[in-house]
């Protein structure tokens, strides 16, 4: 048991780093997309809003695995050659951006309407009132649900192993097929995921406390 672990730990550690790259990359990219889409889905033109709603509904309603397959086969059809890792990165960014868009939209809508009205009556333009009054407040409200979302992304990277992306779950599968010790190996992988996901919650709580405004 101990020998099994010491022999395979370096390999799994390398795979863990791949998982961290994949998830942190897609969290950043997804958050970037979601910020644009979230703001546009409240303040954008009508057509833009409808398009974003449709995008969010489709991506949210489809299983992660199916989305992986769709993106994985769509990219070559567009004539672009990418590695599996990049395809997984794109899928996860798209997938998480849809959930984050809803979070940011919800956070913006949760600010009482009276604030916009007050800002407008004080002479702010609608752009300025959004920029200086509404959006700074949404940051505080959006952080806790966004942190849940980050943890979800880390867990969902494991699905990428099904389309053959080399990350923690894939490495665990490889090792367990060689050593015939699935219980221990998957157990270790589960513990690693647990630690990663828990770390995100702890870091998230610290960030939330930093951004909380004192009344």
């Amino acid at each position: 048991m101990l020998e099994l672990l010491t022999n395979n730990l370096p390999y799994m550690l390398k795979a863990t780093i791949a998982t961290i790259y994949l998830s942190s990359g897609s969290i950043c990219c997804g958050l970037l997309i979601a910020t644009f889409f979230g703001v546009l889905s409240v303040y954008g033109a009508r057509t833009v809003r409808v398009l974003i709603r449709a995008y969010v509904y489709y991506v949210r309603g489809v299983p992660e695995l199916v989305l992986f397959f769709v993106v994985f086969y769509l990219i070559p059809l567009l004539g672009i050659q990418t590695s599996k890792f990049v395809a997984a990165f794109i899928t996860l960014s798209v997938w998480t951006s849809s959930f984050m868009t809803e979070i940011i939209r919800g956070a913006i809508l949760s600010i009482p309407k009276g604030q916009t009205e007050a800002a407008r009556s004080l002479g702010f333009t609608s752009r300025k009132s959004a920029q200086h009054i509404i959006l700074p407040q949404t940051v505080t409200r959006a952080i806790p649900p966004l942190i849940n979302e980050f943890a979800k992304v880390i867990k969902t990277t494991s699905v990428a192993s099904i389309i053959g992306v080399w990350e923690l779950t894939y490495a665990a599968k490889e090792i367990s097929e060689i050593t015939y010790r699935p219980l221990e190996i998957y157990g270790v992988a589960a513990v690693v995921y647990f630690i990663l996901s828990y770390l995100v919650f702890i870091l998230g709580e610290k960030t939330a406390r930093r951004f909380a405004y004192k009344a």
Partner: protein, 223 residues
């Protein structure tokens, strides 16, 4: 440069019966998963609000460990790992177990939050009127808590239906499995997975309509 490609809808019509068999399996699997997950979530949730450490601690450990691990890893652990301990299940049973414990752990947190959202005064009032702890929970707090929990539970149910797709990796013959089979045989991957996506959307739409029906039916009129 965009390669020559057109959407082959005739193929989809030809393989639709296959998808329908897969869809049936997905529906049965999700229904079993939900039926196990709801009571499991309720019990773990009740354990989390219990003042006795004997109930509280195991419930918390279960909830945290199941919430923070990917369901795919749990599928592998149960399907490939447990047989080494002499416990083996069919792929279907394994699927139901993993789906229900994964979703159950999320539902536990929802139940806990909704129980705690019912005012503490109600508990005090019913205790003052002579209800026992358990009776007050069962007849006063829980009915209100469950009504409040339904919208959030609905999200988890939709999540469970989507999650059932990963059971394709242990060859449970559900919708995604049949899609992968068809895609490999015909090479029409893009068509197949787009259509599958819309079938899932449709199923989830029906699920959320059913949940909305229950939400309206169980709505508690608060003064």
């Amino acid at each position: 440069m965009v390669s020559e490609y057109y959407f082959d809808y005739r193929l989809i019509i030809r393989v639709l019966p296959l998808f329908i068999t897969g869809l049936k399996m997905t529906v049965i699997l999700s229904a079993c998963g939900i039926l196990v997950a709801l009571p499991l979530g309720l019990f773990v949730g009740l354990g989390r609000v219990s003042k006795y450490r004997f109930f509280n601690l195991p419930a918390s450990i279960f909830m945290q460990s199941m919430r923070n691990t990917p369901s795919l890893i749990k599928v592998y652990l149960v399907y490939f790992g447990l047989p080494y301990l002499g416990i083996s299940f069919s792929a279907f049973i394994c699927g139901v177990i993993v789906l229900s414990i994964h979703t159950g752990s999320f539902m536990a947190e929802i139940f806990r939050a909704s129980i705690e959202s019912v005012s503490i005064r109600q508990m005090e009032a019913s205790r003052a009127l002579g209800f026992g702890d358990w009776h007050a929970m069962r007849f006063i707090i829980l009915p209100q808590a469950i009504a409040r929990a339904i919208p959030a539970l609905g999200n988890e149910i939709v999540q469970l239906i989507k999650n059932s797709s990963i059971l394709a990796v242990i060859s449970v013959e559900e919708l995604t499995y049949s899609a992968i089979g068809v895609a490999e045989q015909t090479g029409a991957t893009y068509e197949v997975f787009t259509v599958i996506g819309f079938i899932y959307l449709f199923v989830n739409l029906i699920a959320s309509l059913i949940i909305e029906f229950f939400e309206r039916k169980l709505r508690v009129v608060t003064v």
